[in-house]
């Protein structure tokens, strides 16, 4: 039984304590919903979960094992969606998608790529160079990327930004399908994406609430 947990996490950015003694736990099929006002450290926490940032103290555990013991295996288990869409404008929609599927190391599954395009209604745009996409379409392409190759943990940073209502519904379905397969999701968003999610309020762990360390 794999479970993704964090214990006693403290993060310092630019000599400022973003949060301290933060703990979380995501079980299979669960969604962790990060809440907090702007600048409270939601994105920082997601980057920290992904391993892009290192906590000053505390550790991240996958099924009880420290993710730092074998970072390459851990990186193979996660998909991260940040603020930027990582879309190469000179490549077509499908080339962008296939490239990232190949980079996961497994032989890309044509079926998954096709389904991912369909999920976010990009099929008719597949051969279009990505420079012609709108901001919302780019976001959809970035979200299709995480469906196009399998990974149990999704870290989503404001995934609903610049999406229209239909696409938000598609995202909701994608997350539900991921949960059904036992996938885990940590998401920072202002949109209601999942009804029964665990909520982690980061402002409880920020220094302004606890006084200086």
């Amino acid at each position: 039984m794999a479970e993704f947990t964090g214990q006693d996490l403290t993060c310092i950015r630019g000599e400022r304590v973003v949060f301290s003694k933060l703990a979380f736990s995501i079980d299979e099929g669960e969604v962790l919903y990060l809440q907090g006002p702007n600048g409270s450290g939601k994105s920082t926490l997601l980057r920290l979960m992904a391993g892009l940032l290192r906590p000053v103290s505390g550790e991240l555990l996958w099924g009880g094992e420290n993710t730092r013991d074998d970072p390459e295996i851990f990186r193979g288990r996660l998909h991260y969606v940040g603020h930027q869409d990582a879309v190469k404008t000179a490549l077509t929609v499908e080339e962008n998608l296939t490239f990232w599927a190949e980079m996961s190391g497994a032989e890309p599954e044509k079926r998954l790529v096709r389904d991912a395009l369909k999920t976010f209604s990009l099929t008719h745009l597949a051969a279009l160079p990505a420079r012609f996409l709108s901001a919302g379409q780019r976001k959809r392409l970035n979200l299709a990327r995480i469906c196009a190759s399998a990974a149990p943990l999704w870290l989503l940073d404001e995934p609903a930004n610049s999406l229209d209502t239909d696409s938000v519904v598609a995202l909701r379905h994608a997350i539900a399908a991921h949960q059904d397969k036992g996938g885990m999701v940590a998401v920072a968003t202002h949109e209601e994406l999942v009804s029964d999610s665990n909520i982690l309020d980061i402002s409880e762990f920020t220094s302004s609430n606890r006084g200086a360390l």
């Binding site: 990186r75 980079m103 996961s104 190391g105």
Partner: protein, 225 residues
Amino acid sequence: MSPFFQVFNSLIKRELRLAIRHGADSWMVVMFFVLVVVLFPLGVGPEPGILTRISAGVIWVAALLSAMLSMDRLFQTDYEDGSLDLLVLTPQPLELLVLAKTIAHWLTTGLPLIIVSPLLALLLNMEASGYGVLLAALALGTPTLSLIGAIGAALILGARRSGVLLSLLILPLFIPTLIFGVSAVDAALTDLPSEPQLLILSGLLLAGLALCPWASAAALRQAVE
């Protein structure tokens, strides 16, 4: 196919595809190389003796400057559009990805320089005996330039005026390659053996292959923090 090989392959394929679709970038490097070399006869005068004597040095210095010109884009675009985060997060070692990007960079900028260099050697009245060694020295030296340049390209991410900063960081590190590259050609022109210089250039290349991807990867991990 092993995942290492597949990832390596698809990254090179993507970089080459991008380079072809942004074809102007490679052309600009080659044109810059040609222009810099062509300026020399205009500056020092058309006296064939002088041009013959300086030909190897001029071609090498122009090659260094042209290599610099394209270097700052190596990781910059990936950094700006968020691809770098995802490259760092792929399950493969980042060093491998850096090496793939560096090889693609050399194929799109270093290789064209080697191809046009005989033409420029002709223009500078280089003696025929120097051509082969010039090509060999450039073939061994320009990959080293790309490898060293990749460290600088990774270090400057997020900096302002990054192009100038990159030159200041990297040009001093190009000096050994320049010295042995030029002296290999000069040795051939004076009927001396140029193997020692070529062997040293090979040594520099091997050391670069072994060390530079690690340094660049470390700098990239810093950049995404």
